[in-house]
Amino acid sequence: MARVSLQNLTKTYAGGYLRAVDGLNVDIADGEFLVLVGPSGCGKSTALRMIAGLEDITDGAVWIGDQFVNDVHPKDRDIAMVFQNYALYPHMSVFDNIAFALQISQMPRSEIDARVREAARILELTDYLKRRPGHLSGGQRQRVAMGRAIVRNPSVFLMDEPLSNLDAKLRVQMRAEIHSLQHRLGVTTIYVTHDQTEAMTMGDRVALLKDGVLQQVDRPTDIYNRPANTFVAAFIGSPTMNLYHAAIDGGPTLKLGSSDIRIPQSVFDARPGLSRYKGKPLIAGIRPEDIGDAATAPQRDPSRELTAKVELFEDLGSDTLVHLGVDAQAAEVRSSDSLDEIKSNDAKGRCIARFTAKSEVAIDQTVTVQLDTERLHFFDAETGEAIWT
């Protein structure tokens, strides 16, 4: 096992014109599971490939354990990598695929056999060792790719979107399997994904990149509850956070369109910097689960309620996602074009709320919603940075 340190890691293309990764600084502790997440083209895979040695480093440093590895050949970095397409050799059996690295290193045959069988046992592949990858299901292929990585006992696992080729159900299953395997083996793991659910459920910490720049690196709960800026707030969480242009007046109330929402003192206590924004424009955010149906609320509180019109609802069984038209101006999160899911919530006055299954809604119905004002988020209107101190 080893810690990995990325120091000012930079990758530029086209003579420095295009910065794929821009000054990335992250320390990954021994045995930690770090997820690099971000939209397509944010530089996460490039960063991973630089750690693997498959991509030249323009600037900065990569340390694996106590070794400065910038110029070290991939094979000498003591890493194993799982590729998005698994990179399984189609002409080799599962056994040979798993054993490939060991055979190359000319390990004695008996030891190779023992190691491969142990890996196959862990991954429940023992019955498939003689098959070729073409005869395996997607999940089994994924496990073979994992087997190839674990059989070498590397210090670091690098995984580049290893679940993106699987269907949704299998992805959930494999997500849990990889997570539990990593936990058992305790190998430092850097995992790249564009799927924020994977990031949140698997990582000990999540590093979120945008346009090559690190936006935030934190534990999943912290990144969810204390997003560093509007981009992080909008990217993490599904459905995404509702963000609106708003203002705070002396009340202290939040002026959200024509509605006034009273902000409890505890919010100011937690965010001392917020008092500086009284009378100034800012961006207020609230997650769908913090907007409830006032009709089913245990206690009505008109000071944190507003009315909205139901435009659409999605009954998920356990709860209902309700798309509401509200009288407030949605804030646009400036991001790369690929962020469709963020942009989809940019329409003026749209809001998504998560109602409990008890609520009964109909399209075009006017409902009163209650905000959990303790869980409001505030961001600077100019920079998009979260307002805390």
Partner: protein
Amino acid sequence: MKPGPGPEKSAVTPAPQGAAVLPSGRAVPAGRAGTNIRRLENRAAYMFLIPWLAGLFGITIIPVTVSLYLSFTDYNVLSAPTWVGLENYEKLISGDRRYENSLWVTLKFVGYSVPLVLVFSLTVAVVLNRGLAGLAIYRSLFYVPSLIGASVGIGLLWYQVFGERGVFNDLLGLFGFEGRSWVTNPRYALSTVIALNVWTFGASMVIFLAALRQIPDSYYEAASIDGANGWQKFRRITLPLLTPVIFFNMVLLTIQSFQSFTQAFVISRGTGGPVDSTLLYTVYLYQRAFQHLEMGYASAMAWVLLIAIALFTALIFWSAKYWVFYGDK
């Protein structure tokens, strides 16, 4: 000004409901419409196929059938063929030393040419596939010989290059070696013909290049991380994944090499010499047919060649299950 023909004056009678209209504008009752349209379409298809069918029958099927008949006859073009049964085939099996020699020369030619072209084309393709600058130019340069290599002109050029006062000997002279006439020396003449054939490796190379492009980079990246060196990557990844293409090229080259004619004919000035050292099967066949006017005998030779090619091809196909890998199997 005359009034133009109005819609009521149209020559086409509107089709009743449920009926089809033929391209001619004639309406056909619904029941018969499908059959008639199909018949018309078939007729059109055959019209388009006529040039190809004429070629197939006129140049291939009829001559091949006639040659099968002629192989059982004695025929010298000037008089009518006389039926001799299996006599031509019996003569081939016993009693024609030059025929026997041509068999060995051809086997040697095929045996050297096919592996050499395969190795050469694959090697050059692998080198070119490494993202060389000016790849398109190199690819074209290497490909051109395969287009012109089998021509008479190139055969003549080759004769000059490997002649006693040829460029090849001039080159050897630069390094202090004394040359000789490669094309008139029985020891080396076949080698020059083989060399000319190998020089036309471009077509196989282009196919290999296309196949190499299909191998995902991630295979090599994974192998790099696993510690494989360049040779190990080639032997354990590239080569097995290319086996379907090697197989394809091998079949193609084997058939082409058995049929090879022009190069040996031009270099040996039609004799197959010196001392029958370049007497390929086809050259000997040509001599018997057009110099000795023994069309029956030559036809029998052609049929034996056809069967030999079929057998060799079948052998390669049979062996494929041991060494050719297909991704989905």
